[in-house]
Symmetry: C2
Subunit: 417 residues, 2 copies
């Protein structure tokens, strides 16, 4: 079924707001089995919006409008569509009640503009808004379906998942639907991953394989079109197996919302181990990234940020002699930082980071030079030198990711011993 | 002059890529004085792309196409436009040379597909690509102008700034242009800021005033349309003065790319002061945010992440008795953490954070309860209790922003004494 998305709002045409709704809706619609052939943006202008609706009606069967259903004068979407369809606007009772209750609770008087948000197109069906006041509309006539949705993503998304998906599945069911699985990889670049999988990608069909690079990692999204969920699982499992044979050593986890930090925390939790960190060039990035994972407190003890040499001596007791002989950006300093952090905290694992984040060289060492060390409670140590590229933030991020992976790999290796 | 933007790429219609190019180009075009009335997205389909070009030609004078000029078979934009215009494609010499030199340097053979990227529309003008191989095209006929640009933002943006802006200014000059100024505010919500400025906003014209909320801060963008830069400055200065009279106490800095962390670092640098931090609930977020600012090493000594009570005792020497009597989420603990951090590091300012980031209560204290303390080298202390809302990450971010502002305000007050 041909569908298209029309976003309404002058702020989009001014470039003040990025049209993320079109991408969100497209991904969900494609997942439900609809074809999306056009995205459009028009401003809060009734002539151009009406022209757009006419054009869309001529070429698509499912037309989704989002934005322009709020309380102000320039929210014209529902009015223009109703006018085009030759239908009056009517009050949605549930939406009307909700607005009145909300305004009463705030002790504010109810204006006509507030109530505009409860208007829907006659002979259409109101779509309730779980996180806002503006009511959406679902309207069908012959083979054309119109959906009117709110513009703010915080309202659009809950309304879409809670109300629109069940409605579409019931009113416009598609035989085939898409199922996706995301595999995450660390330690391999996008071009190398694509090269390793070139045969699989060339022959890709169902599932398709799409690589996405983000800083210091690559995701592969497998997408399969089937009639049943069990058939989807089977095809995805088969393809995943082939991928893992080629690049499994770099795989670290599943899911669009996963991260190396989450997997590291999970690995520590599984083994009942704690971690402490000493950070020079990363300046707290590693600890804050771990600390942002819910439940991190079960494994993250804490640690040190020792940005300056003075702090490495004062807080960690790294000796002046060591710093003079080897410098702060050295194997010896990284090892001392990790060892001292383990001593001072008693953590099962202590991780240390020292290096040059830039923009300028330190101790004659190039920007991007980084030493990372791991010290365990049992007295073992691992230490590694890296040479990262790009800017300050990328170097800090690269150091963090490699450090986390060092811990994760160590735990996995210890487990498999 | 009416302009519109057509983005080409099936990945956009699948929702795999967000159309950030449209927002980027719009903002720049509007700044140059053009009106943008439509954004559209079509897939890599020559029939629908041609229909789109026809439609745009009928309603706009400046038509910008982006995406679909790479080396592969599905990069069809230049072919479809050339066909529509009835012009053949010709090789751009400079682009051709660049591709050959690039492939030779890599030791790779040159394929026909590689050279496709140097094709431009006859009677048009090639636009060189500073960060890639695909050449753009500028084509004029009668009152219609077409621009063909690459899809990857990393190629589009440099090409736009380096090549397209001078070309547009020369070939399609606009009398009036826009100038913007961004004012940043902390400690006031968007709705309160808008309420305080309601009269100014209601009467807004030239400059216009647009508020944007982001986590824990609000930006105001003033935009003025003038014929000269000096006139723009004068109008912006006048409007800024009126805004400052109302909400100046919350203003902290200028610019789209500024941040409270940058302004805090700048304030410390100005006074030649150093800072150290002890973080419990923020787990390193404050130090890593400061550490991400280039040049932070001049003022950020480092500090502690003391996530657990054990670490507060071991690393900071907070007494067991204090923790038993008052708990970790307390005025007393925050003060002890700040004071001990100042002692151990010798920093001019020591900042401490303790509280409940969630998802669960701690010591019977509600999620969002946070104490922040500041201790100075001179022995002064400031301590404050907060009750933040929302999720874990928002609570951590709120704590950080309020802590940074506490330092910034203290420095400003000390300076004005």
């Amino acid at each position: 079924m041909k569908s298209e998305i029309i976003a309404v709002g002058t702020e989009l045409l001014m470039g003040q707001v990025i049209n993320t709704n079109a991408a969100f809706l497209s991904e969900e619609l494609v997942g439900l089995g609809y074809d999306v052939y056009h995205h459009s943006v028009v401003g809060d202008n009734s002539v151009r919006l009406r022209e757009m609706i006419e054009l869309a009606t001529g070429r698509s069967e499912l037309i989704i409008l989002c934005g322009g259903i709020g309380p102000t004068e320039d929210d014209i979407t529902r009015d223009v569509l109703a006018d085009y369809l030759g239908e009056p606007l009517v009050l949605d009772e549930e939406g009307d009640k909700k607005i009145k209750a909300y305004m009463n609770a705030l002790g504010r008087s109810i204006t006509e503009n507030n109530l505009r948000q409860a208007l829907i197109i006659k002979n259409g069906r109101g779509i309730q808004n779980p996180t806002g006041l503006a009511v959406g509309t679902f309207y069908q006539r012959k083979d054309k379906t119109y959906l009117v949705l709110p513009g703010p993503p915080s309202e659009l998304k809950p309304m879409f998942f809670d109300e629109v998906v069940p409605l579409l599945k019931k009113m416009l069911p598609q035989k085939e639907f898409l199922t996706s699985r995301v595999l995450r990889f660390f330690g391999i670049g996008e071009s190398q991953l694509v090269a390793e999988l070139s045969e699989l990608i060339a022959k890709q069909n169902n599932p398709t394989i799409a690589p996405y690079a983000s800083p210091n990692e690559v995701r592969l999204r497998l997408t399969v079109k089937t009639n049943t969920g069990s058939e989807a699982m089977e095809l995805l499992n088969q393809k995943e197996k082939l991928i893992m044979e080629k690049v499994g050593e770099y795989f670290y986890g599943y899911g669009e919302k996963n991260s190396l930090a989450q997997e590291t925390i999970a690995a520590l939790k599984n083994e009942g181990k704690s971690i402490a960190v000493a950070e020079s060039l990363t300046a707290g990035l590693v600890q804050s990234t771990l600390g942002a994972v819910p439940g991190a407190s079960a494994v993250l003890l804490g640690g040190f940020v020792t940005y300056s040499n003075e702090m490495k001596m004062k807080l960690l007791g790294v000796s002046e002699k060591l710093l003079e002989e080897h410098g702060a950006v050295s194997k010896e300093c990284a090892l001392a930082m990790a060892r001292q952090t383990q001593n001072k905290t008693g953590a099962d694992y202590a991780l240390s980071f020292t290096g040059v984040a830039g923009p300028t060289e330190v101790e004659g060492k190039k920007v991007g030079t980084v030493w990372i060390a791991l010290a365990t409670k049992e007295g073992e140590t691992v230490v590694k030198e890296f040479h990262f590229q790009r800017d300050r933030q990328y170097i800090q991020h690269s150091a963090m990711m490699n450090g986390l992976n060092m811990v994760r790999k160590y735990i996995l290796a210890a487990k498999n011993k």
